[in-house]
Symmetry: C2
């Protein structure tokens, strides 16, 4: 059986960061060393960070998905960021940082500890590429968060869903985890609802409308975006452009 898409990629970190800035051999070495470090496993639904608690380690996700969220007193929940393989959690340069949100494993998650990234970020001299790439990555994160706010504030259910799918596809593609609009999406409709600020029922109906219109397939955690252009248009998704520097191929 042909695997449409790998669940696991080695070189995730280097793949991703080298698209954000030019990295030299030394820096690539550091990144692959980080990926080779011992793995920390977080079971599904376990907490990786607690809002308000001190952050003790910077992690990079090697496999699995996570999310940042906030919960209101009566239980209403809003996801604030979907964290993909290759993303960091708790990578933060201020001193004695407190977590601004709670982070939870959406699937079983494996991470490596990535203090080296923090070191490479501050010590500008010897790892300018990594420092640069991390800066770009942080800016992209901010961009996606801004988009998230605009989505929640001013888009309809259909538009939100389209925008989210486009965003995920785009982010996954840059890690080699999506191709041709086909990717694994390990989210229940309830989780989607809490990303998009909608009810489960309405998410269900929105997905059905997209299926009816032949925009997507979505079964057993696998999405196929049949009409990527249509969705990009409906959701008005625009990929991040955070710097005027070009990255050499």
């Amino acid at each position: 059986v042909l695997r449409v898409q790998p669940n696991f990629r080695s070189n995730l970190l280097a793949t991703r960061l080298s698209k954000l800035a030019n990295l030299n051999e030394h820096e690539l070495g550091i990144l692959s060393a980080i990926e080779g470090k011992p793995k920390y496993s977080f079971p599904e639904n376990s907490r990786i960070l607690n809002e308000g608690h001190e952050i003790n380690a910077a992690y990079v996700i090697i496999s699995g998905w996570a999310y940042l969220h906030r919960t209101l007193a009566d239980g209403r929940r809003q996801l604030l960021k979907v964290v993909l393989p290759g993303d960091a959690i708790g990578l933060c340069s201020r001193s004695r940082p407190l977590a601004l949100t709670t982070a939870v494993a959406l699937t079983p998650v494996k991470t490596v500890e990535a203090g080296e990234l923090l070191a490479a970020w501050s010590e500008d001299g010897r790892t300018p590429g990594i420092a640069n790439a991390l800066e770009m990555s942080a800016a992209e994160d901010e961009y996606y968060l801004l988009c998230h706010a605009a989505r929640l504030g001013r888009q309809t259910a259909y538009e939100r869903m389209a925008h989210l799918l486009c965003e995920l596809e785009y982010r996954l593609a840059s890690r080699g985890l999506s191709s041709g609009g086909v990717f694994l999406l390990p989210m229940t409709q309830e989780v989607l609802a809490d990303v998009l600020g909608l009810s489960v029922v309405h998410v269900n109906r929105t997905l059905q409308q997209m299926r009816r219109e032949n925009k997507i397939e979505f079964n057993r955690g696998k999405v196929s975006m049949l009409d990527l252009n249509g969705l990009l248009n409906a959701g008005e998704f625009t990929p991040p452009k955070v710097s005027a520097h070009a990255v050499a191929g």
Copy 2:
């Protein structure tokens, strides 16, 4: 006539940053020198940054309010951040940065150019206090943006309004621009609607409900929060706590 609250404060920047980290005399000197620099004026509704365009200067707002926003193809608009006196616009350490959102003057705005802040941020050795304070400030900005997303995604109109008013009061108070829940709010209901992801009419009705319940007064751009606790509770507002470090009084 007693002025309830000053429109203009000298020492805005030093006031604000010294609440975020301990600053030495040298650093306080740098900050007040920045505030003394020549002013750039932006008329009401003029653009300060354009999304996607390169950022050429870092500004600090000395007087007036601004906002960051994004607009959809059909004109729907979502404000993403309200920028207050003492806040920076375009303070950004990556190389050749592009603006992630458009910035617009909500009122006439005066700024100073603040390249010194960028310099003080990177050159860690001699201005650790400023570097630290800027780090904290950036983290608080992120916190407010996360709150904004949660507000838009999962709170009711009434809760959103309560949360926003509490946030603004809190941020203004740290600059000496609010006391006892009384402050100037230079926003039309239409702007409030675009902050909160609501229609103007609904903003109007929500404000009226708050007036009826004696939670607020809001006339001619002046807000009095008559029941601060009630509003904190209704909006579930929590001030940012971004670091475990205490700041010496």
